[in-house]
Structures are given as structure tokens and as C-alpha cells.
Symmetry: C2
Subunit: 243 residues, 2 copies
């Protein structure tokens, strides 16, 4: 049986990778991935074959990984964060039927929601939703329906892909929807370049978030009705104090 690992490398810096992920990247023959992620980790795994494809070439990247595995090489496909959260593990399992001789194994990693939460303090301490604002693969109506449901039930919300060149006003549109249900004072946070050079956090109100310019390297957090701003940190209480 040939082996193809799907490895979440965490938010970006080597130290936030798991020990198991680093071991697999050290011992595999070939590392496949999106160019930007390969560049983030290349220096730590020196002498090795790297195969890269640009963004939006996901199917081609997966075929490349399967075909390289079929040659008898141990292959690791890398994804930023966790490979199972808006990553490549779903597509690889879907395509896997065409390559029955290749065994897949997912190595989990730290996703941007929890890595970003750590920078902000403790925003995700209670029930939360992850929603991607990218409508490349999901109709906007479905995204909007999920935003409404999440706000109505007072979930903490973590937004992935809050913006891109073509979707500059999506975060504003999302905030306007949330403001139909939630107070403008709800505590929110943003983290840009989590675990990488230039990491920066901000704690602000939902009203202010609506006016915020964010880029595709930003993860956005919207608190629930109990979330507090404590010394510039974003903290959602869970209730232990009352126990």
C-alpha cells in the first residue's frame, strides 16, 4: 500500500506544528503544497523533493500527490492550519476512490480559529461557529443564512476568508447582517498573520468591525452577548466562577 499523508502545518511558524507533523515531513520523500506554504516550512526540511502548484489548482495538486505516491514515494500534502478545516483532506478523500492503492492519513494541526483565539486571549470559550465568507464554492445565500442562525442563537463566530480583492465589502455585509440580531457593542477581534512575521491583533466593537479594512490573512472573531474586553484582550466567560 502506498502512503499519502495530509498534514496540517498550523498557522505558519515551525514551532506551532505538532511533533508528529514535523516527524512526517522529515521522513517523507516528497512534500506537495501551495507555493506560499511550502516557502513557510522549506528551510526546516532541507534536502527533499518539493512539488508546488499555485492557488486554485487544487484538483491538479491532489492528482500530483496521488500520482507521486503511486510511484512508491511517501508523500505529504501540506495545508496551513488544519487540513480538515477548509483544507485539502475532503477533496483527497473524494478523489481517493480512483487510487485504491494509496492509503490516506490526516495529521491534524492547529487551525487559525484556535491559534488566533490564543493571540486575542480566550474568545472561543463557549459554543462557536466557523464560517467562511468566501463565496467561490458556496452561494452567498447559504453563508448569509448561517450568519443569521449563528447570531440568533448567540454563538461566538469565527470568520475565515473575510476578504479578498474581489470581495472587499464582504466583512461589512456580514457585520450588517449580524447587527440585525446583536448589539453594536458586542466585543469582536481580528488577528492578522497569526504565528507569522507581522502578527497583529485588535479588539473592537461590532460597529467598528463593520468599518474595518481586513485582508485575506486576517481571521475575525465576533463575541457572544457575554464576551468581554479585558485589558485589550477578548474573553468569553464560560461560567466556572459560579460553580
Amino acid at each position: 500500500m502506498h502512503k499519502l499523508y495530509i498534514v496540517g502545518i498550523g498557522p505558519g511558524n515551525y514551532e506551532q506544528m505538532t511533533i508528529r507533523a514535523a516527524e512526517i515531513l522529515k521522513t517523507c520523500d516528497v512534500i506537495v503544497g501551495y507555493t506560499v506554504y511550502i516557502d513557510l516550512i522549506r528551510e526546516h526540511f532541507g534536502e527533499k523533493e518539493f512539488l508546488t502548484t499555485p492557488m486554485r489548482q487544487e484538483v491538479k495538486r491532489c492528482e500530483m500527490a496521488f500520482e507521486t505516491a503511486m510511484e512508491g514515494k511517501t508523500v505529504a500534502m501540506i495545508c496551513s492550519g488544519d487540513a480538515g478545516v477548509y483544507g485539502m483532506s475532503g477533496l483527497l478523500y473524494e478523489m481517493g476512490a480512483r487510487y485504491p492503492e494509496v492509503a490516506l492519513e490526516v495529521i491534524p494541526g492547529v487551525t487559525a480559529a484556535t491559534a488566533g483565539a490564543a493571540v486575542l486571549g480566550a474568545p472561543l470559550m463557549h459554543d462557536f461557529c466557523l464560517i467562511s465568507l468566501s463565496d467561490l464554492l458556496t452561494p452567498w445565500e447559504k453563508i448569509e443564512r448561517r450568519l443569521r442562525a449563528a447570531a440568533e442563537a448567540d454563538f461566538v463566530i469565527c470568520l475565515y476568508n473575510p476578504s479578498s480583492k474581489k470581495r472587499k465589502d464582504y466583512l461589512r455585509r456580514a457585520c450588517e447582517i449580524l447587527l440585525e440580531y446583536q448589539s453594536p457593542d458586542i466585543v469582536c477581534g481580528t488577528v492578522v498573520n497569526i504565528g507569522r512575521a507581522g502578527e497583529q491583533k485588535k479588539v473592537l466593537s461590532l460597529e467598528a468591525l463593520k468599518e474595518e479594512q481586513v485582508d485575506m490573512f486576517t481571521t475575525v472573531f465576533i463575541g457572544n452577548s457575554q464576551t468581554m474586553s479585558l485589558e485589550e484582550m477578548m474573553v468569553t466567560p464560560r461560567g466556572y466562577r459560579n460553580v
Copy 2:
């Protein structure tokens, strides 16, 4: 300034800890935690001071951590999974105002949602919610409202704390609520003892999940309307194939 790290150790085995978490546990003076988690990692960090408290002693455990840090020792409070997901980071930030000389830093880890997802294949590939079924700290009405909102908006759902001795029928109650909105054939999965001895997964329908006996070491996944069962794995498509 004294230092208190809040460290997510991942689902349990040493290899699923991040490199940064392991470094901090190696270099700190004292490790504080719930007895079960200390026992999971103790062998890897030999000569060190360990302070443990049993479950439900969360406030006491935090006070112990702050007071030890005030003595000038570098302290790491450990949590399973990620410290910011139903962990201790929120309470520590809330109590932090009483200890202004202690600087807090959260070290993120792999939470049960993504670690369990890796075992099942790729269930979390699209927008998802994390909901804890424990009503120790949250009224059941709020939990129920969140289950309804998540099912209505077709989120993938990951349930933490699906059962305990006192809450044997909570998973059944949750499934009954979800069945008001979703098909009984929706693909679900369970993983018990993620990353530990005795790890086991199961892929089953929502109807079957309702009858399932689970324990407090189980993480439960409920697919969205598109989630598939592929060769005993649970896979939620994201749509790359149509790009």
C-alpha cells in the same frame, strides 16, 4: 513580570502536541493541571514539579497556578486539546486582574474537533459549529436553541461532552431535536479516546446515533446535508471539484 503559560497539549499523546508546547513544558518550573492530563504527559517531562487538582476544582487550580507564578516560578497550566476551547484560558484571563504581576500567554493546541475529524476522514470541511452538551455551566434551553439554529442552517456539528453519568440521555435528546430539521440518513461519526490507547471510530446515520451509547471520552460529529460516507470514512465535500 512573572509568567503563566496556558498550554493546550492536544488530544493526548505526546506526538500531537505542538513543538512550542513541548518546549514550554520542558523549560518551565512547574506544571499545573487536572490529574488525568498530568498523567498523560508526565513521563515526557521527568524531573519537574507537578501540581494537580481533581475535576470541578477549576478556580482552585487557577489560584494555585497564579500563586506559584507569584513565587517567581515559570508555570504552565495544561489543558487537553486547546486551552481556549472549553478549557481554562477564559477563567485565567478573568482572574488575571487580581494578579497584575503575572503575564498570561496561551499556547494553542489541536482540539478534539479537528483531531477527531482527522480520524474520521474529513467531516469538518465546510462551515461547522462546536456545541457542548454539558449543562453544568449552560442552561439546557440555550444548548437546545443552538442545536436548532445549527441544524436549520445546515452546519456540520461537532458535539463536545455528549454524555456523562448524570446526563446519559443527552445525546438522544440532541439527536431528537436535530431530527426535526434533518434527514435520519444524515451521515454522522463518533470517535472515542482520540489519540490515546483504545482510539475507535464509527460512521453511522443520525437515526442510529440516537440509539448510540457514548461516554465522556467521545466526540460526536453530525454531517451537513452533503456529507457522505466513503469507504467507512465521513467526508463533507467543499466543492473544489466544480471549480
